[in-house]
């Protein structure tokens, strides 16, 4: 079952309450998304660590239920 964008956004903000999340449905099929996540929690972390934080917020759905989520993460600009 594909996930809807609101569900993805909620899982991320549940784990990272300050996160600003923008999700786009790339193919209109509910299965290929692009997400931009901006959170203070990313500051000082490497890109791999930042993406891992989002993946852990998605509780194992990434790579399974969620086949395609293009991810861009950053800390808010100071």
């Amino acid at each position: 079952m594909p996930m809807n964008a609101a569900e993805i956004e909620k899982m991320i903000t549940d784990a990272m309450p300050d996160a600003r999340v923008e999700i786009r449905d790339l193919a209109g099929d509910g299965d290929h998304y692009a997400a931009v996540v901006v959170s203070e929690a990313f500051r000082g972390k490497s890109r791999v660590q930042q993406h891992q934080m989002v993946y852990s917020a998605l509780q194992g759905k990434m790579g399974g239920t969620l086949h395609a989520l293009a991810l861009q993460t950053s800390a808010p600009e100071a």
Partner: protein, 113 residues
């Protein structure tokens, strides 16, 4: 350590640049894998491709090895660099090319496209 973990470790420790991907560099079978191939070809770094579709133990094992849920996965000198999005961002920022150079790996193009 399981056989798959041991085999993955041997591969990434014995080769300078390894891409675990779906399909082969000549024939990628997933858009994300294809993007990373395109970037590596453009940069002109020599790399080894491992087709995870041919081995279910490697396909699942590499996710465990790196604690990373998706494929492709790029390794430079035994170190996990990232998946498609990270490789693309690094490439666009010139960081990927820098990383190759810093590790003594020859590249053709040091500029991003």
């Amino acid at each position: 350590m399981s056989d798959a973990q041991q085999s993955i470790e041997n591969t990434v420790k014995s080769q300078d640049v390894v891409l675990f991907m779906k399909g082969t560099k000549q024939f990628p079978q997933c858009g994300f894998s294809a993007q990373v191939v395109q970037i590596l070809e453009y940069v002109g770094a020599d790399y080894t491709d491992v087709n995870v579709l041919e081995d279910m133990d490697i396909r699942e094992g590499v996710k465990e090895y790196s604690n990373w849920p998706t494929i492709p996965q790029l390794y430079i000198k035994g170190e996990f660099v990232g998946g498609c999005d990270i490789v693309r961002e690094m490439f666009q920022a010139g960081e990927l090319q820098q990383m190759f150079t810093d590790n003594g790996i020859a590249v053709k193009n040091t500029e991003s496209a």
